[in-house]
Symmetry: D2
Subunit: 398 residues, 4 copies
């Protein structure tokens, strides 16, 4: 922390490097930001201060700290901040706790700029800590329009941020419309898509052999399979069980080989996982294989070769637009997020879901969309961070 | 709290009234919201849940709880949340602590709507708690443009709020430009100006007799006096001492009877109060009278008859526009806030400040501006709250 | 909360009843305190203020709030305070968060005495909140000697408490030796044993039929079965996996019908559950049935008819002393806790564990011990609370 | 924090030094621990990790961080944790916040032992964080018997601590009686008295010239003067104003030159300071000089030459026993603290206080007592820390 003896944190002081504090808050987040982290670490004018927080510290969600060690990236601080419960109040409290913790870390690390990504509560906590402590804030993935509370939080972070890295042109325009300085808004494309362009996307034969073993029977993937990934909708807390039932019925009716990936820990998690658990235990469907966790590498390959992705994950809108994978997007969670032709929307209704799935499976792959793609996303972020002068006092542009 | 036996909080349940949770965070706040509180309390379709928090609980900043008792307004919860320190980090931490506490209170009170006012950290904490807990948020005083971190926080709260009560037409337009639903944005005028229209604004002869005694000599007010009220600028933390010195030199050069009101507790408070304290103790200026606290009633009368208000208080822009009192607004704190003709801006420069003051003193009263005035502000807020249906899922309007 | 209108919390004020605040922190805790809660609720001189906190609020650990509703016990406040992680730091942070929350609740409920039970972190948080807020503290289950951090915390709570309800004579003596006022130390026996005296203890035939279904095969219980219940040892964090392996090997070697009850959420939970999970998934032992949760009613009957209980649960020392069930107590967790003749100790060594188990199974039931038994435990606690005058200023008796 | 690159915190790892984390929580604390800090810093087997927390970070209570810089002692972390309010609930909340913050710091610094001093809430927070995180705790100043909540907290810390450094023989015996391991209890004498043995104790002629200026007239000290230092009594919250009035009346009746030192920030601070403030402003006593802050160096000299110390400070019992200064100890705050012949006790009664003061003034200096004195206190603490092996699992010794 501050005043660390023998060089430690003070190292950047004399060198005149700009200290960039970047916070990793979960496992998936880390994998998809590896290139960004390397760019920040190796940029001659930047000094990376890496903070690991929230579920990225919990072994059961994937061990980020030892992976960082293997990758040679030093950790400057660890923050435990996650309340147990998966309910609206624990989301609020996690934000409050994260704000208390993060401000101590910022006081001790004294970065020149804080870089955050996304729209979740950990990110809001960091943004507020930086804002009150007069530290310029750079934000990746602002300007998107979706459902859930993330929608409001994303725009609130935009209003606290000084430098913006939206992933697409429409989001860039929205950020400017909201009154941000156009000179500080840069469409650099999506880190998630950049990640896809750098990895092996071959058929996931090894899913059964090497991957982390899921629950349920194994089946032949080569004849086609669908993927389900449906998260709770925080703003519709209390309806999750029923919403999930509709999807379950659709899947149960189709009886196609299905890879089912566990929901995230947002408020409502209990409801939706209970529906899945009851289905699994009572029906023991031989055609479904359940994964609590799947590595981002494998997930990309599973998505790339799926006949259809069903649910409400942003991967359906973003990654699958690039991959051309057919998607059935259910409910309001991805609300207004700009979508390519690969997506069909469906309400929480088993008949409608089944119908849309059949249509998508029949259609097969769509052409790849470049909507969320830009070259050298990570490189550009690092460059802009290094070069931009930021005035900590913001003001609405109208 | 939730499940209170024998009627308690459950009282509103059967009645079908809409439960409005309103939070008071400081003494001045309370006085200027008295009419609003009475409107909320007496509205046939509303049930008021009043929370007292932050400095409103600290006797040294004025005892709100016993005043509420005298006014017959029951308190539903008290929240201690204020960190000592007056620095950027303590503002961040107070927000985090407030968020932890406020979410517990909301969990136990279960309001139908939360009503907040302004742009300070306590308010941001409440807004986030409500947002994550799927409770609709109504916000008074959004859309203004100013300096300090309040500028960013104000707009972040707007992005979390569902129902907006700006105080003027320009702010209403800005809120809509930021992508809020025009149907939910209501220019109801300023509570502060409504307050002025209801009280005695006669010459403050009794300042020396009955009011809370300040420090320093008494002098004859009837020959004219100036008022100084200059707060720290959070985004210029570290410059406060020098900024205040310039104002002090200007005042010391003019040697006019001066009523000096103590700065607020924002980050930088230490710096600016030190400058004042040193001036007071070393120079013992016989023409300055210092007030740590002045009641809103007396403050309004003092403002109304002042030859000039100097500093960076929003009262110079808002209250004085209605009163027609000449104002010298120093520095960036009131940044882009819309001003009537009564305001002259000045940088942190003693010569410029003195010059502007002389011009304003010579000019005398300006005509009253109606920019921040609307009839029945409090009544309208209560009416709109009672009648508006709010969908908890927001979405950007473009 | 404080100032609740229309009677609510103020109800007790005029009646002159002593307000007793009792906090339930988990599901098992509630079942075993039902009689105490009824005694407190129905005592003519007492008014019960019930707070539900920590894991008692999380549906996945058993839904206490709806059970309280069924039992007609009103809840005065709910406190979410549990951090996710099951590590030393999350135990510390949960205590800190609980202290922040509990002090707000006490400020708003203003009880005359706070009653707590046990030695866990939630309880320490409550004890400290009460201590600093000058509210007398009564403590059930002090004076025992065990292992883990609970040992230190239990005695720290004793030093903060004004009134003591140890469960046995030796513990009473220890509390007095530590410098507490002998007049305030009452051996009332154990609530856990009182609970056993009031319920059906017949053979758990219905384990397979009605109880919450566990994981694994069913088998014939009537030919004898053993029960395993081994929790993490917080002060030996990092050794849990190896410790559990020894027990697993012993069980796997014996191949007797085994009911295995899941460990609690103390620091180290991840380690020990991982060992069990790997065993279960790799070996799929047909003679073991795993329970994540078992109701206290069923647990008592399972214990009563077991050939042997193996592990480090306090139930082995307390409940089984009364039931006469043979116990193999492993490691340091129950350290110095006074044991009846039914307990054999064993180190973390599979051979020693197996040997001890064989000896115990052969021995069959021991005679019942009355060491932890007193008549009317709950009734006495309520009586003493009603009658005792407490001076909030404590002082060491030597 | 953990994983700091380029040596930083990892420096001690390879060297095999024992990492001692010591926390400074206020300005006075620092001065009196300077020798201890130097001993810890320079010991060949120890590596000092210094944390600055609570009021030690607030400029208005004396700037510790810049003094540490001057003294060449690096700071490893800073913790803001102090709530504003000076009431029972803010003491509780400060403890909770400190616990949250301190556990993050310990997680990142990973010390081998944590060293704390005293019995205040910041210290309890640190003790609990260390306890749950399995870090051995060493405690200075345990075993004393006093009044206020500090009495209970002190013994609670003893029950969490592994290694004890009481300041006198009686306290050592009490710690052992409470069940601690006699091998881990070392009477090393008082750091406060060691401090007195190393500084200039000459007549404070320079009080008026160089020292930080107080409020009120100056007067001739050489004809004799009394010192008043009376703190709030947390366990008698609500009675502070009346208690202080009695002392004020006694002082006002004697009309001797009086140096009055401001009370500390414990709960009740508002009450007692209000009494002083009203007295000062209404009576403007020409014979009293008020100090908000006095440096420890000057305080020692002021004490040494005072005709009498009046109030309830521990300095009356400890420092003055060594200096031989006559003391009138009022009320319960110093309760059972072992006192030398220099102390006369008095209740909160102006007549009794005046009477006792007259007796003490007449008596003049007492002989010096060695009750709290041992040679090389700081050196011994460092030595014992370096040499002692600590088993993190404690257990009551009976």
């Amino acid at each position: 922390m501050d005043g660390i003896p023998q060089g430690g944190l003070g190292a950047g002081k004399g060198t005149g490097k700009k200290k960039v504090c970047f916070v990793i808050t979960n496992r998936v987040h880390y994998t998809r930001c590896k290139q960004l982290i390397q760019q920040l670490k190796n940029h001659p004018q930047l000094e990376l201060q890496l903070v690991v927080a929230a579920s990225a510290l919990l072994p059961k969600y994937g061990d980020v700290t030892s992976e960082l060690e293997r990758d040679g990236v030093p950790i400057h601080a660890k923050i435990n901040m996650l309340l147990e419960g998966g309910s609206p109040i624990t989301m609020a409290k996690t934000t409050g706790l994260g704000l208390l913790e993060m401000s101590t870390v910022l006081e001790n690390l004294k970065p020149d700029v804080v870089l955050v990504r996304g729209d979740r509560y950990e990110v809001l906590a960091i943004a507020i800590a930086a804002a009150y402590m007069n530290i310029p804030l750079a934000h990746i993935e602002g300007g998107d329009v979706t459902g859930t509370i993330d929608e409001s939080v994303r725009h609130a972070i935009t209003k606290l941020a000084h430098l913006h890295f939206p992933t697409n042109e429409l989001s860039k325009e929205r950020i400017i419309k909201m009154g941000e300085d156009p000179k500080q808004v840069h469409n650099v494309g999506s880190l998630d898509i950049e990640y896809l362009t750098t990895i092996d996307l071959s058929f996931p034969h090894d899913l059964w052999e090497k991957g982390p073993e899921g629950l349920g029977e194994r089946f032949d993937l080569t004849k086609g399979y669908v993927v389900v990934m449906q998260h709770p909708v925080t703003t519709e807390y209390g309806s999750g069980r029923q919403q999930m039932e509709e999807t379950i019925q659709a899947i149960d009716a189709l009886k196609m080989p299905t890879i089912w990936i566990w929901p995230n820990i947002d408020a409502g998690n209990d409801e939706v996982t209970k529906a899945i658990r009851v289905y699994r235990e009572h029906k023991k469907p031989p055609f479904v294989h359940f994964y609590r966790y799947i590595s981002p590498e494998l997930f990309a390959r599973v998505l790339n070769h799926a006949s259809c992705l069903v649910g409400n994950s942003s991967a359906g809108i973003k990654e699958c637009s690039y991959l051309g994978t057919p998607v059935v997007d259910i409910g309001t969670r991805q609300g207004g997020r700009t979508r390519a032709e690969n997506v069909i929307s469906a309400p929480h209704n088993q008949e409608k879901i089944k119908e849309a799935m059949l249509k998508q499976i029949k259609n097969r792959k769509y052409p790849s969309s470049a909507f969320y793609l830009k070259e050298k996303t990570s490189h550009k972020i690092a460059e802009i961070l290094a070069e931009t002068e930021i005035d900590v006092q913001k003001q609405l542009m109208y």
